[in-house]
Symmetry: C2
Subunit: 310 residues, 2 copies
DNA sequence: TCGATCATGCAGCCATTATGCATGAATGTC
DNA sequence: GACATTCATGCATAATGGCTGCATGATCGA
C-alpha cells in the first residue's frame, strides 16, 4: 500500500549504491535510478546528491527513510485492526523458518491453524533466517521463526520487525557411542578442543554459530570435515571421523551409535530462537493466535527437556 | 505515496456508489470497480458487500477508511518534517481560493512568496470553495482559502483538513446612491425585506449564503434578477433594478452611484473565511510561512475596517 | 593513462490498467 | 405486472507506465 519507490529508497539507504539496490530488489539499475528520480520529482524534494561516482542521501532523504518505518508499521497496524473490527480472518497465511524451526515449531503451528480455521490456506516455507526476514518485509510471508544471531540484521533493534522470544536452544556435542565422554555428564568445549570437528562450510549460518561458540572461549577448533545437513554430519560422526555440535532441537532420529552430550559452563553456546513479524502486524487475528501457539509450543519443548534431565 | 486504490476507496466511502466515485475521481466505473476488487484481493480482506443494486462498506472497510485519514496525515507530516530536516523548500507551491479571497488574500501572499523565495514557482488558482478542497486533497494545490459554510463538507470536522481561521467577512447591502437608506447607519434585513433583490443563480455558493442570510430571520426575499459576478450585480443596482448583498471583502472599485450600507443586528450574515491545508502538512516550511502571512494580512484587513468605522 | 565502478539516458518491449460496451441484478413507476 | 432506471461487473481493446539492456559519461584507483 505504501509506494514501492519509497521501499526502493529504503533499500538504497541500507546498501548505499544503486547497483546493489538493484540486486537486492530484483530490479535493473536503470529501474532503480528511474524510480529514485521519479520519487524525488513527485515529492518535489531532493533526496540524493552525487558523491564521487556514487550517490549519497541528503538530510531530507535520511529523515524520510527513518520515518518511513513508522509509517509502514502504522499501516500494518491499521490492517490488523481492520481485520479485528470486521471480525475477519485472511484467507492466506504464510510462515517461514529455518530447518529445525520449520519442523519443530512451524509444522505444529500450521496444523493447528488449518484445524482451527479451515478456510485459511496455510503456507509454510523453509529458508535461511536472513532470507526469511527478507520474505517477511516483502510480505511473502507473515511470520518468521529465526535464530536471532543468524539473521545478519539485528532483529531486535530493527524497527521493521517485532520480535517475540521463544526459546534458547543450546548446542550439544554428538560423539560416537564409544567416545571417551559418551554417557558422561556435561562436558566443556575446552575438554574437547583437541578433537577433530565436523561443521558446515564457511559462510553458512550454522558455520558462523559454530565458530562463534569456540571463539567466545578463545579456542580455534580443528575442522576436518564439512557437511551441510545434520544427517550427513551425524553419519560422519558415526563413522568416527570427528565430532560435531548440533542444536538440541535437531532430532537425531535414525542415528545409531552416536550419543548426544550436553555442554557445561556459563558460556555454553546457544541459539536464541525468536519469532518475528512485521512491526504493527502483531494485532492481526491469525498472528496473535499463532504467536500464542508458538509460545506454548516452546514452553512444552522446554518442559520436556526438564523431564529429560530429571 | 499512498496507494491510489486506497484513495479510491475513500472517495467511495464518502459518496457511496461506484458510479459517483468514478465521476469524482475521473475514472470510468469499470476502473473503479476493478480497483476496489484488486484492493480487496491484495489486502486479502473483504471491504465491500452487495447491498441491493449498490455496494456497502463492511466493518473492516469502514475502519480502514477511517484510519487511512491518520495515515495520510502522518505521511504529510513526515514530508513536512523531512523538508525541515534537510532545510529544503519545494520548488512548486500551489494555492487556491474563491474570487474575493484570491484577490484580497492570495495575490499578496503569492507576491510575498515570490519575493522571499525566488526559486519557488507559485501557482494561484481561482475556484469555488468546494472545488478548492477537492484540489487540495488531490495534491493539485497545497493551500486553500475557503468560506467555511460554502465548502459542502465540514472543513472543521473533516480529518483530512486542518483549518486556520482568518477573518469573519460580513455582508453589506449595496443600494443606489439615492436610495432611502443610503448614507444611514446600519440597517436591518427586516427593513429591506420588501425590496427587490439581486443575487446569483440557485446552486451557486453565493446564492446559498444569500438565502441562508434571510431564512435565518424567517424572511423570504423577492429575487428579481440573477447575476454571477459582483460587477454585474453592481451594474444592476446602479440601474435601479434592485439591491444586493456583497461581502465586505468584495471591492466595488469603479462602481459609481452605489452605496454600501452595513447591516445591523446580532444575526447579521457573515462569511467565515478560513485557510485549509492537508492534515499534517502545516509543518512544511512554505505552508507555515504562508499561514503566518495570511493571518497577518487578515489582521491588517480587520484593522483597516476599525479605522473606517471610527 | 588505462581500467574499473558507478549512475544515467534512451530505444524498445511488456505488463498493468483504463476504456467502452454489453450483461445481469435490483428497484421504482405507471 | 411489465417497463424503464440505476446500479455493478465482465470482457475485449487500447493506451499508459514501467522495466530491461545497452551505450555513455563521470569519477576514482593503479
Amino acid at each position: 500500500m505504501i509506494d514501492s519507490r519509497l521501499l526502493t529508497l529504503r533499500t538504497f539507504a541500507s546498501c548505499g549504491t544503486v547497483s546493489t539496490t538493484a540486486e537486492l530488489t530484483g530490479y535493473s539499475p536503470s529501474a532503480v535510478s528511474a524510480q529514485l528520480r521519479e520519487l524525488q520529482r513527485s515529492l518535489d524534494m531532493q533526496l540524493l546528491v552525487k558523491d564521487g561516482r556514487g550517490l549519497r542521501l541528503t538530510a531530507a532523504g535520511r529523515y524520510l527513510v527513518k520515518r518511513s518505518d513508522t509509517l509502514i508499521a502504522e499501516w500494518e497496524s491499521i490492517k490488523a485492526a481492520a481485520l479485528r473490527a470486521g471480525d475477519q480472518t485472511p484467507t492466506h497465511f504464510g510462515m517461514g523458518g529455518f530447518s529445525t524451526a520449520a519442523s519443530n515449531l512451524l509444522a505444529p503451528l500450521a496444523a493447528h491453524v488449518k484445524r482451527e480455521r479451515p478456510g485459511v490456506q496455510v503456507h509454510v516455507l523453509e529458508a535461511s533466517p536472513a532470507r526469511c526476514l527478507d520474505l517477511l518485509v516483502a510480505e511473502r510471508i507473515d511470520l518468521a521463526v529465526v535464530v536471532a544471531s543468524q539473521a545478519e540484521v539485528d532483529v531486535d533493534g530493527d524497527p521493521r520487525f517485532e520480535q517475540i522470544s521463544l526459546l534458547n536452544d543450546p548446542l550439544d556435542v554428538i560423539v560416537p557411542a564409544d567416545h571417551a565422554v559418551a554417557g558422561n555428564g556435561p562436558v566443556t568445549l575446552e575438554e574437547l578442543s583437541g578433537e577433530e570437528w565436523i561443521t558446515d562450510v564457511p559462510g553458512t549460518p550454522y558455520h558462523d554459530l559454530f565458530t562463534a561458540a569456540f571463539s567466545a572461549l578463545g579456542l580455534t577448533p580443528r575442522v576436518s570435515h564439512e557437511a551441510a545437513e545434520w544427517d550427513t554430519s551425524t553419519a560422519l560422526v558415526e563413522a568416527g571421523l570427528g565430532i560435531g555440535l548440533v542444536p538440541r532441537l535437531a532430532s537425531l532420529e535414525g542415528a545409531r551409535n552416536v550419543v548426544r552430550v550436553r555442554i557445561a559452563g556459563q558460556r555454553r553456546p546457544t541459539r536464541k530462537i525468536v519469532a518475528a513479524v512485521r512491526s504493527g502486524s502483531a494485532g492481526s487475528p491469525l498472528i496473535t493466535e499463532s504467536l500464542a501457539y508458538l509460545r506454548a509450543t516452546a514452553q512444552e519443548i522446554l518442559a520436556s527437556r526438564l523431564d529429560d534431565e530429571s
